[in-house]
Symmetry: C2
Subunit: 447 residues, 2 copies
């Protein structure tokens, strides 16, 4: 019965935070016309391993009582991201979907990684993608950046920076510099987080065949980072020219200038961002959370000119994937909680079993106006019933009318107790649902 | 890339129906103070197979690259219900939970069954349970029946019958009749759905050792079914007496009279219901949907005096589990859909790329008042943009102001087109979100 490392489970007051986060993401995605899909948890092993890179992380799934001949042909495994299943879904249902297809997908994924801080074996991702059939207007890149920036802005988390770059910009720049193997340059520059600049310049010589001037230019471009379109001028000032560079600069400018940053989120052109994955072909995204940089990117994605293909079409797409569990884990560790462990706003007390119908009627009246309400489970002493509410963080306790005593409702935080009519009384709007707090400081967190 | 039998995936217009159903369930559960938890998808194989009954259905999970020594000790499997994981969660977190603990849990479960109508290998369940530490007031049984009846009443489904019975009533009756082995009687009576009455009477003789009079009494009690407390009188009229029978009658009366049935749901005392599972000790529930009786029970549960135990305590509980996928499958087959494939209520047209900021501003204004809005992806001909909306079922198309022409919005169903101000215009409330329809008849379904 021990907890399983890498498989986090939340207590109710944490789960309420997660629900709040997921509700906000969904609401934002839907306001922008993204529709929900869910894919099955399993995919054929052969599909998942097509890229051949991460087989160590994949969990195979097999009926315990499976017969021998089921083993190979029908082998299944748990999905490790939502992109591979989405690509399959698009091809499988292409005739029933309308393109460009805007979908969001919030589901668990599984990876057999060694558990460590911010790395889980089961975790929740929230993905948005826009996918076209054969073509997809570039503006989709701006759109997903904008929508994810708005989604991130409403979360109860520290300031976030959505870092945008463009693979055409990088590849065009490296080609313009005269690099014979732009991919090799990108692999070296990608180490800039871990290595000092001099070491990177050295490796650009040894591993990517660049001379010192070329290497210095590639390092210089990687160090450009602006919260607006001024990166274009800074890149131009390096004097490198290539048509693909021009295209990349213009695309990146459109994303950074087009995705207006709501409060709490900064959108930057950050020319250090490369993303390791081969399939990105233009825009790339990463996201850092202030004070939690050691987590790495908590929200990443980009443009892929071929998410999927079938006999007749290719399906270009652009998407971003938010690591919800990864985002929440350090915040939970730092004490982020709901101030109640239940949705309940009002506990109706119970004098004795005979008066249960009267208490139930009060509860029904409150619920009919959207107030989550419970009746005390037992007709205990009133002090015990009040403690029942206190332990769960329920803010209000209702005392049913008795004899000539009218109905009363007590705010157990302030102790204020007033007469009240169950057919009209409402709690203050901010008490209807649990609030998010950081328990260390009992300081309130913005929604 | 073929679809996997038993692993249903929905198209967007079906997924919207499922979301509506899950939202309504969650809303009802939370109004009654049930709090959400989720448990990990995997449990140790040893835990899942403790009852030893259903090992053929369990999916084992193992890293494809697992080393040999991981195999036995750490063997994991996908959960096949939400009760076993919940019992583990309660024991594991008992110190951090407040009892009685009211939780709901909506998650996928997996069973390696042979796929057939209404049977899936991956499906969604929605469970509510109330669990106490050492004791749980009987009224919890009434409570879960009431809450699930309300939850079911708001669904876009045919009329439902929540059938309630009580194991103490049955066991007490069989003891009162003089049966030596009440469990054997229950096993035979449980076949009443498949066998004619005479055959059941015969089996009660051969398999349960009853004489004809005893057998006829046991058959007679199983045939009692009332939508109110009048079953008590009918049972009494059979002249059988036993203290456990009295207790069961009183408990069942409380549930049937206490759980007031909202429109669309009938709560009945149905003395044929036994539930096969050993761990039920009092109240038992099943649910039939009118016109879909062949599905069997779509929502079942009951009282178990020992959901779980640890060194110090036992945890009695009562719960009901709704098979959401099982409920939805035949309705989807019969054409239940959302009337849109997207959340979008308004498509803002795009005259050319230069006017994109103006169209985006209109969309932003509408979204700020909660109206899901998209901007057309490309500045195509207006006819094509309108078809973009039509194909997705988006009801309104917005034409931005141009020159002396004011903003206009068109209801593409009626063709009505009117001047509109993006800072105040709202669609009719019933057009804000997709509606549920049955596509065969285009007849509207109640929410």
């Amino acid at each position: 019965m021990a907890k399983l490392s890498g498989f986090p489970e939340y207590l109710p007051a944490e789960r309420i935070v997660e629900q709040r986060v997921l509700d906000h993401l969904r609401r934002t995605f839907e306001l922008h016309g993204f529709t929900s899909i869910e894919t099955r948890a399993v995919e054929p092993v052969s599909e998942l391993l097509r890229k051949g890179e991460i087989d160590k992380e994949v969990y195979g799934v097999r009926r315990l009582a499976a017969e021998g001949d089921e083993t190979e042909k029908d082998a299944l495994a748990l999905h490790f991201d939502l992109t591979v299943p989405f690509a399959r879904y698009v091809v499988e249902n292409a005739n029933d979907l309308d393109f460009p297809f805007r979908r969001y997908q919030i589901q668990k994924v599984w990876r057999g990684e060694r558990p460590q801080q911010g790395r889980f074996r089961e975790f929740t991702q929230a993905d948005i993608d826009i996918v076209g059939r054969d073509t997809l207007p570039f503006h989709a890149d701006v759109d997903v950046a904008q929508v994810m920036a708005e989604a991130l802005a409403g979360l109860p988390v520290p300031p976030l920076t959505l870092q945008v770059n463009n693979r055409k910009l990088l590849e065009g720049f490296y080609l313009g510099v005269g690099a014979a193997d732009p991919a090799a340059v990108m692999r070296v520059v990608d180490k800039l987080d871990k290595l000092p600049g001099e070491k990177v310049i050295e490796l650009l010589g040894t591993d990517a065949g660049l001379d010192l001037r070329q290497a210095e230019l590639c390092l210089a471009v990687a160090q450009i980072c602006t919260p607006d379109g001024s990166f274009v001028e800074q890149v131009r000032a390096l004097g490198v020219e290539h048509p693909m560079l021009d295209e990349g600069l213009e695309e990146l400018r459109q994303v950074v200038e087009g995705a207006t940053a709501p409060e709490g989120v900064t959108v930057t052109a950050d020319l250090r961002i490369a993303r390791g994955l081969d399939y990105y072909t233009g825009t790339v995204f990463e996201t850092r959370m202030a004070g939690y940089e050691q987590l790495g990117s908590i929200c990443s994605g980009g443009r892929y000119d071929q998410l999927a293909r079938d006999n007749r079409s290719t399906y270009p797409g652009v998407g971003i994937s938010l690591g919800v569990s990864r985002l929440l884990a350090p915040l939970f560790a730092d004490g982020l909680r709901a101030d109640r462990s239940v949705p309940t706003a009002v506990l109706v007390t119970l004098l004795d079993e005979d008066s249960r119908p009267a208490s139930a009627e009060i509860a029904r009246a409150l619920r009919s106006r959207g107030v989550p309400t419970e009746v005390a489970p037992r007709p205990q002493k009133l002090g015990q019933q009040i403690r029942h509410a206190e332990r769960r963080g329920i803010p209000f306790v209702w005392f049913p009318a008795t004899g000539d005593q009218p109905h009363q409702v007590k705010d157990i935080r302030s102790g204020d107790q007033v007469d009240a009519d169950p057919s009209v009384w409402l709690p203050p709007a901010e008490d209807l649902a649990p609030r998010l707090v950081t328990t260390d400081t009992t300081e309130e967190t913005t929604p």
